[in-house]
């Protein structure tokens, strides 16, 4: 039976665009066929999780029922009361499936992974937890089951983001862009699709994954076995795997954004030339943006407010430093319970603390600022990021511990 993994091969794009054509024609003439959109979404999700992946299909159904009950129940509760403990319990319950799936990797609980895991569980969890947090804040007041379903199961972004926000999404989905705007979106969509093909299929899959990486990795393994684990071959491995990560993921994000545009939904962009960042903070405003903004709004800010509200720590600097490390550690843990993800999170947490200290120092002292220092800043940031991606890649784990 036909099984379609999102954006995996040219065939997928042909089928996807054929399926979306009626929707696009409708939007062009000012109509949004909501039912058709939902049917197409469901059909593609079904084709993702059928055949050998049927257990993922059951898992996503179970997951959706679980999140539905939590978000619905919490919205009902929130109308009457606002107890902090209830809020925490509901949030933890919403994260529970994802947590168990993540835990199943290092503990080898394969039955848990089979029972609960499915492609995209992280991104669906972000969506529903975001809804719960905004309901707590009072910015979401009603539970609309129809819109909840459309938001949660919006097909283009289901497997790997970008992470949209409920209120932004429903504003788009309940309206129709005018023809000029929709044509601009289509124009961008075509551009993003082709840029995505270049990034994902040509540069990442062909150039890096099937050409450069196997060679430099095997040379690194060979050389490291002689030189006690460290070798200069790690330098090309680092750049190749870091750049591959970008082109692969940015390519996927472009596909998801382009598909959303065809469907008349302006999903936010995920990458904005991250390697031109002049410091680490700027990097996180340009790299996997929807994830880092999600973490900024729902973890960093809330952590800072909590500390300030409870007056646990007086110093603002200490507070933000702690929040950086906490925020990035959580992100590390979210990537997976492996030492290299956690070290990656810690690395970026500490990096942001140092970055902040430097920015404060720069403000106080008369540090020269010109084109050259900017170029130097970009160079340093790029290399710091590349080191972190080498950690993230897990190759060191294979090299040293396997």
């Amino acid at each position: 039976m036909l099984n379609l993994q999102p954006y995996a091969d040219p065939k997928y794009f042909v089928i996807l665009l054929l399926a979306l054509a009626p929707l696009a024609i409708g939007l062009y003439f000012g109509k949004r066929f909501a039912w058709y959109e939902v049917i197409v979404s469901f059909a593609f999700i079904f084709l993702m999780f059928n055949g050998k992946k049927y257990h993922e299909g059951y898992a996503i159904i179970g997951f959706m029922i679980w999140q539905w009950l939590l978000v619905w129940g919490y919205t009902l509760y929130r109308k009457k009361a606002n107890n902090t403990v209830v809020f925490y319990v509901v949030t933890l319950l919403a994260i529970l499936p994802l947590f168990l799936v993540k835990l199943s990797a290092p503990t080898h609980w394969t039955h848990v992974a089979t029972l609960l895991g499915f492609l995209g569980i992280s991104y669906l969890t972000f969506r529903s937890v975001g809804m719960i947090l905004e309901t707590r804040d009072g910015s979401i007041k009603e539970f609309n089951p129809w819109l909840f379903l459309r938001f949660m199961l919006f097909m283009p972004t289901i497997s790997s983001g970008p992470i949209d926000r409920y209120r932004r999404f429903i504003a788009d989905v309940t309206s129709v862009p005018d023809r000029d705007k929709y044509l601009k979106m289509l124009e961008k969509a075509v551009w993003y699709f082709f840029l995505g093909f270049l990034y994902n299929f040509v540069i990442s899959a062909y150039f890096f994954q099937s050409f450069v990486l196997p060679q430099v990795k095997s040379l690194a393994i060979e050389s490291a076995s002689v030189h006690g684990g460290l070798t200069w071959w790690l330098v090309p491995v680092m750049y190749a795997s870091g750049l591959n990560l970008f082109f692969n993921f940015a390519g996927y994000s472009l596909f998801a954004v382009a598909t959303s545009y065809v469907m008349g939904i302006e999903v936010p962009m995920n990458f904005n030339k991250p390697f031109l960042s002049k410091n680490l903070k700027e990097f996180w405003n340009r790299w996997h943006m929807t994830l880092s903004f999600w973490f900024r709004d729902y973890i960093f800010m809330r952590f800072v407010f909590l500390i300030m509200k409870k007056k646990w720590i007086k110093s603002r600097v200490t507070t933000s430093n702690l929040a950086y490390i906490f925020n990035m550690l959580v992100m590390g843990f979210w990537h997976g319970l492996h030492w290299y993800y956690i070290v990656y999170g810690l690395f970026h947490g500490v990096g942001l603390v140092i970055n902040d200290a430097w920015l404060r120092y720069k403000k106080k002292h008369n540090v020269p600022h010109n084109k050259f220092t900017e170029a130097l800043a970009i160079f340093i940031t790029f290399n710091v990021v590349m080191v972190s991606f080498l950690i993230f890649d897990g190759f060191l784990d294979k090299l040293w511990f396997k």
Partner: protein
């Protein structure tokens, strides 16, 4: 910004698709393969050449030079002075080896590659170098994916007239590889062959479109990774060879080179190989091959598929059985009787079906400078091989009389632990 209509947005995309379609489906060839390209490809070990069809077809149709396919594995990569490619070029022999194979190529891979070059096999000559190391118990086809291309499968499927037991055997083998298993079209077609169902006309049409597209891809890209082996390896080696094509002179020259290049160890292993691949692990490698076993393996049936292909094409083929470095295997504890039993099993399979051109060097691994390293022919070994290859190829094609026995495709044969008696009685 200028107001844009639909044509401005989708026009370029449509034009691009039309152009790509034209490029891939155009019935004429778009590139020209020169004699230089072929000569370079003959010693390039390029995976694209191995996996493809365009260069091989061009090479075996070449009128100016008789390229003869040399099938083998990593030993072919040892492009040193006495290598068959050098000798043929230096002494203007009436043949030139076209090297097909490198580290990791085994019989199944060769079988698939052969599907793309019937013009190189049909009533022509070939050399096939067998390494006993292929015949491991667990058929570790880790490198299958490296040498596989859908073009091979398309060619194979297209060329099936009546489904033979070999075809069914290959179908089952392919269906175990994820490159075939996960491809909906090939999976379906190969499954049909496995079930002994002929392909329908619709299937054949699908295949011919696929074949044309894959071939075009091959024509456009297989020349990309051109190597410089001819210039950097063959040319200098030719300068070092004695002017006269004479076995005794070659042998003394080879011995001299062997002496010069094996000074840092007692195994007569080439210095660089010893330094980078062995020295640091020397202790660990002691007795490391004691449990190696080449006697029972699926590879015997893969080899049978190759033999069936040779028979189908009436190829006049010389088999070379490659020895192991005896100084080295004494150290690593490889069991001699096991090794010779596996050689006997291969030879039984060959001779019982009429493949009688066999250069068996399995007992020569202890001779001086016969091996370049642990398992690969070197200086004197290549000279000895040349004594068999040269007369065989110079004499030219001789009519063959093979009689294929499909029982060699069975697990009974794969798992037969060879003794003189059971080899003799196997039918």
């Amino acid at each position: 910004m200028k107001k844009r209509g639909l044509w401005w947005i989708f026009g370029p995309v449509i034009i691009a698709f039309v152009l790509i379609g034209a490029l891939f489906l155009a019935p004429f060839s778009l590139n020209h393969i020169t004699q230089n390209d072929i000569r370079e490809a003959s010693v390039s070990f390029s995976k694209n050449v191995f996996k493809g069809e365009a260069i091989k077809t061009a090479a075996f149709n070449d009128k100016s030079k008789r390229y003869v396919p040399f099938f083998g594995s990593s030993e072919l990569l040892r492009l040193d002075t006495m290598h068959p490619s050098m000798l043929a070029e230096k002494y203007h022999r009436n043949y030139q080896p076209f090297l097909l194979g490198q580290a990791g190529t085994e019989a199944l891979t060769h079988y698939l590659s052969m599907q793309e070059m019937p013009n190189g096999l049909h009533k022509k000559q070939a050399v096939f170098i067998i390494s006993q190391q292929w015949f491991t118990k667990k058929n570790s086809k880790v490198s299958f994916s490296e040498f596989y291309s859908p073009l091979q499968t398309a060619n194979w499927l297209q060329r099936i007239d009546r489904i033979t037991p070999t075809d069914r055997f290959i179908a089952d083998r392919l269906l175990r590889e994820k490159q075939v298993k996960n491809n909906a079209v090939y999976n379906r077609l190969v499954t049909k062959i496995s079930n002994n169902q002929p392909l329908s006309n619709a299937d054949k049409n699908i295949l011919s479109v696929r074949h044309r597209m894959l071939l075009r891809e091959d024509q456009l890209f297989s020349n990309f990774s051109a190597s410089n082996n001819w210039k950097n390896r063959v040319k200098p080696a030719i300068g070092r060879l004695p002017d006269k094509d004479d076995a005794a002179t070659l042998l003394s020259e080879a011995t001299k080179l062997g002496e010069q290049e094996t000074t840092n160890n007692n195994f007569q292993i080439k210095n660089s190989f010893y330094k980078y691949r062995i020295k640091l692990n020397l202790k660990r490698l002691k007795n490391s091959q004691r449990n190696f076993d080449y006697r029972e393996s699926e590879e015997y049936s893969d080899l049978q598929a190759v033999l069936a292909e040779f028979a189908k094409q009436h190829t006049d083929v010389l088999f070379i059985i490659q020895p192991v470095n005896q100084r080295w295997t004494d150290y690593t504890g490889l069991r001699k009787e096991m090794y010779y039993q596996s050689v006997d099993k291969v030879k039984k399979q060959l001779t019982s079906q009429g493949f009688n051109n066999i250069a068996d060097f399995s007992r020569d691994g202890g001779q001086n400078y016969f091996m370049q390293d642990t398992i690969h022919l070197g200086w004197n070994g290549w000279v000895a091989a040349d004594q068999k290859i040269n007369p065989f190829l110079t004499k030219g094609y001789q009519p063959v009389n093979y009689h294929i026995n499909n029982n060699y495709l069975s697990t009974r044969w794969q798992n037969l632990s060879p003794t003189p008696e059971n080899l003799k009685s196997f039918k």
